[in-house]
């Protein structure tokens, strides 16, 4: 699904109501949610196309607050689709991920043979010393 410039601008205005600038965090449109990340979000959720399209169509770029609030009251499914796509697109941008300290799902190196802290500092030893917890199989 490819959106025209007007729809992208409208989406940006609506997304800014849901995700305004705050402290170090940029508003949705400053993080460019309306471009590549919007496309990626929609591409990965074709099931939302219909609700998103309907929801966005019901909104107005000139009265973003009024129209998103009306959508929330009158078409919750449409609202949820627009909201989820906006929030997801926002947290997929590099800029926002950098700011919140999220590198994405990564594969950090570790040494499986390294002795874990809990074996050195006596924490696990305390569990072992408290003894077995299980109830054994009754005999006979």
């Amino acid at each position: 699904m490819l959106l025209d410039d007007a729809s992208r601008a409208k989406f940006a205005a609506i997304a800014d109501r849901l995700i305004p600038a705050s402290g170090k965090m940029p508003a949705a449109s400053s993080a460019s949610v309306q471009h590549a990340m919007l496309d990626l979000a929609l591409q990965s959720r074709p099931d939302l196309t219909e609700d998103f399209t309907r929801g966005l169509a019901a909104c107005s770029a000139d009265a973003p607050s009024q129209s998103i609030n009306a959508l929330f009251r009158e078409d919750r499914t449409g609202f949820n689709a627009v909201n989820l796509i906006a929030v997801a697109a926002y947290y997929m941008t590099d800029e926002v991920r950098d700011l919140i300290g999220y590198p994405g799902q990564e594969s950090p190196a570790y040494d499986p043979h390294e002795t874990p802290d809990y074996l050195v500092d006596g924490t696990l030893e305390r569990v072992v010393r408290r003894g077995p917890l299980y109830r054994p199989t009754p005999r006979g």
């Binding site: 109501r17 849901l18 995700i19 305004p20 705050s22 402290g23 965090m25 990626l40 979000a41 591409q43 990965s44 959720r45 099931d47 607050s65 998103i68 609030n69 929330f72 609202f79 909201n83 989820l84 929030v87 997801a88 947290y91 997929m92 919140i100 300290g101 999220y102 590198p103 994405g104 799902q105 990564e106 594969s107 950090p108 190196a109 570790y110 499986p112 043979h113 874990p116 802290d117 809990y118 924490t123 696990l124 305390r126 569990v127 072992v128 408290r130 003894g131 077995p132 917890l133 299980y134 109830r135 054994p136 199989t137 009754p138």
Partner: protein, 553 residues
């Protein structure tokens, strides 16, 4: 059974037909084929392709909510069958593929404990199993070697046993935080045991803590039978037919199973004949198939003279407690998987007001989108008349700043006691994409489960508070958590009250077997796959040993 070595051509009769290619079906296929029997397995799903799993992709969290959702009704894929759940408190979760539901499982490796096999003797409720923990232990130890379990030996929650084949995974910052609280309270904990090797093992790569286990492991590190069992089974001659939906098991005039009718990928109906049929389609798929297999001889469904097919469904109602901390906890890092487990309140203490207990698994909090929709529940709900901006807006930023990377989640798996009113039946209208009737669930969470979860939620809250949580969030009895499907074709020695005997053989049809979790008389308070695979191994060993005595059509 002929014992002719594998390689049967399409539709040629075989020694053993297996329905379902998840863990239980894979255990059966691997050992039967290695023993020289000809084996065909029919699986409605396909081989999973690790390249399709979304875990390496930026849009991972969005995809997790639809295409890779564990609820088949949400995924809505043609290879799944839908489940009618309007009369159930819990939605069942599963996946159709080679590897079955473990394609999406979290890999918590928690074998049943000794008391789980003796509930009646010890606690005076429910039932004992026909065998004990000790009877099963050799099979468990063998399965653990094949699965490549990672963990630390010596857990005092369990009797002593053989060491795990690979060292434990790092518990990470979130795991250490959980330990802080449990240590302060003097409560049991142990580094998580997981079905994810920490070093290369039996075709698996080592787990690299990507943390996307529940949408499929893109690293080939989560232990699933498409990697660990099926390649061996196929090398020994087993034939696995995917895209094959079984709609009926047929019987002859003597009341013996003759094989199954299935619908292939092109919608064509086919027939696979076999001397022995083993159903491994899980606690919902198995009773569904038996109920679908009605005949003159078995008007109430196959192997259902006891009337127990479909009854006593257990799904482990689930609650979760999330602790938010000042410290950064690398909340997106895996395994996802259990970092730390606790069995402090596992055994019965009647003074708590309920029977049996639960195991806790400490997990990381997940990505930024995850913290805005914790365990599937909407975090924000605007009161009528409230402004959208007041609910999202600033709040969203605050919530993510506070919770993302600062959370630890305790998942509570509590024992679900068997009740005949909790059932799998056939829905009169709903069908799968091949027009085969879909199952319907009648399931209510029991008072015992309610009380148990309330108690455990309170203790988990104490555990995160002892660790210094600045905020706790409880999600009580989450609906989308029917990941353990057990009990609906109960095993027992009495043909009047059970469907199969301890070897998985049905009382009514001597060459029909069930090897999956539907045979469990009780559900334990732990994730069941370790026990499902071990029981299947014990049963298939017996079938192989007795094959010369096996009656067949």
């Amino acid at each position: 059974m002929s014992g002719k070595t594998g390689g049967a051509r399409r539709d040629e009769p075989v020694d053993v037909l297996i329905v379902g290619a998840g863990p239980s079906g894979a255990v059966a296929a691997r050992y039967l084929a290695a023993a020289g029997l000809s084996v065909v397995a029919l699986e409605q799903g396909h081989w999973p392709d690790a390249a399709d799993f979304p875990g390496r992709k930026r849009e991972f969290e969005l995809a997790a909510q639809k295409r890779w959702h564990p609820n088949p009704n949400v995924r809505d894929l043609p290879r799944d069958y839908p489940v009618e759940t309007s009369a159930s408190d819990i939605n069942p979760l599963m996946y159709a593929a080679v590897g079955g539901s473990t394609t999406l499982y979290a890999g918590h490796w928690t074998p049943f404990l000794p008391s789980d096999f003796r509930v009646k003797t010890l606690d005076g409720i429910a039932d004992d199993w026909p065998f004990t923990y000790e009877d099963l232990l050799p099979s468990l130890e063998e399965i653990e070697r094949e699965v490549g379990v990672s963990g630390l030996p010596g857990n005092p929650a369990y009797p002593p046993q053989r060491a795990f084949p690979t060292p434990p995974l790092p518990i990470g910052k979130a795991g250490r935080k959980a330990v802080e609280g449990l240590d302060k309270l003097g409560w049991h904990w142990w580094p998580g045991t997981n079905a994810m090797p920490s070093v290369p093992y039996n075709g698996l790569n080592p787990c690299v803590r990507r943390g996307t286990c529940m949408t499929g492991c893109p690293e080939g590190a989560k232990s699933t039978v498409n990697i660990t069992f099926w390649p061996h089974a196929i090398r020994s001659g087993a034939r696995l037919i995917t895209g094959a939906r079984v709609r009926e098991i047929e019987v002859n005039d003597q009341g013996l199973a003759t094989g199954a009718v299935y619908i292939d990928e092109n919608g064509r109906e086919r027939r696979q004949r076999a001397a022995v049929v083993i159903v491994c389609a899980n606690g919902i798929g198995t009773p569904r198939l038996l109920l679908l297999s009605k005949s003159k001889r078995f008007p109430d469904g196959l192997a259902n003279r006891s009337g127990m097919v479909g009854k006593r469904l257990m799904m482990h109602p689930f609650s979760a407690v999330l602790g938010v901390f000042e410290d950064e906890l690398d909340g997106w890092m895996g395994p996802f998987g259990q970092l730390v487990e606790s069995f402090e309140f596992y055994e019965t203490d009647a003074s708590r007001g309920f029977m049996r207990g639960a195991k806790w698994g400490a997990m990381p909090g997940g990505g930024p989108l995850g913290v805005t929709s914790f365990v599937g529940s909407q975090i924000f709900s605007a009161g009528e008349g409230g402004m959208v901006e007041d609910v999202w807006g600033e709040n969203l930023h605050k919530l993510v700043a506070r919770r993302f990377n600062h959370c630890l989640v305790y998942g509570i798996i509590g024992e679900d006691l068997p009740e005949e009113s909790n059932q799998v039946v056939l829905d009169p209208e709903l069908t799968d994409s091949d027009g085969v009737p879909a199952p319907k669930l009648l399931y209510k969470v029991s008072q015992n489960s309610h009380d148990m979860l309330r108690f455990h939620v309170a203790r988990c809250t104490e555990a995160v508070e002892a660790a210094g949580a600045i905020e706790t969030v409880v999600v009580h009895q989450v609906r989308d958590t029917g990941w353990h499907l057990l009990g609906s074709c109960r095993m027992g020695e009495d043909a009047a009250t059970s469907v199969v005997d301890q070897w998985g053989r049905s009382h009514d049809v001597p060459n029909l077997y069930i090897f999956d979790g539907s045979t469990f008389p009780t559900s334990g308070g732990v994730n069941p796959t370790a026990t499902i695979m071990s029981v299947a191994l014990r049963q298939v060993r017996r079938l192989i040993a007795q094959r010369h005595l096996q009656e067949a059509a």
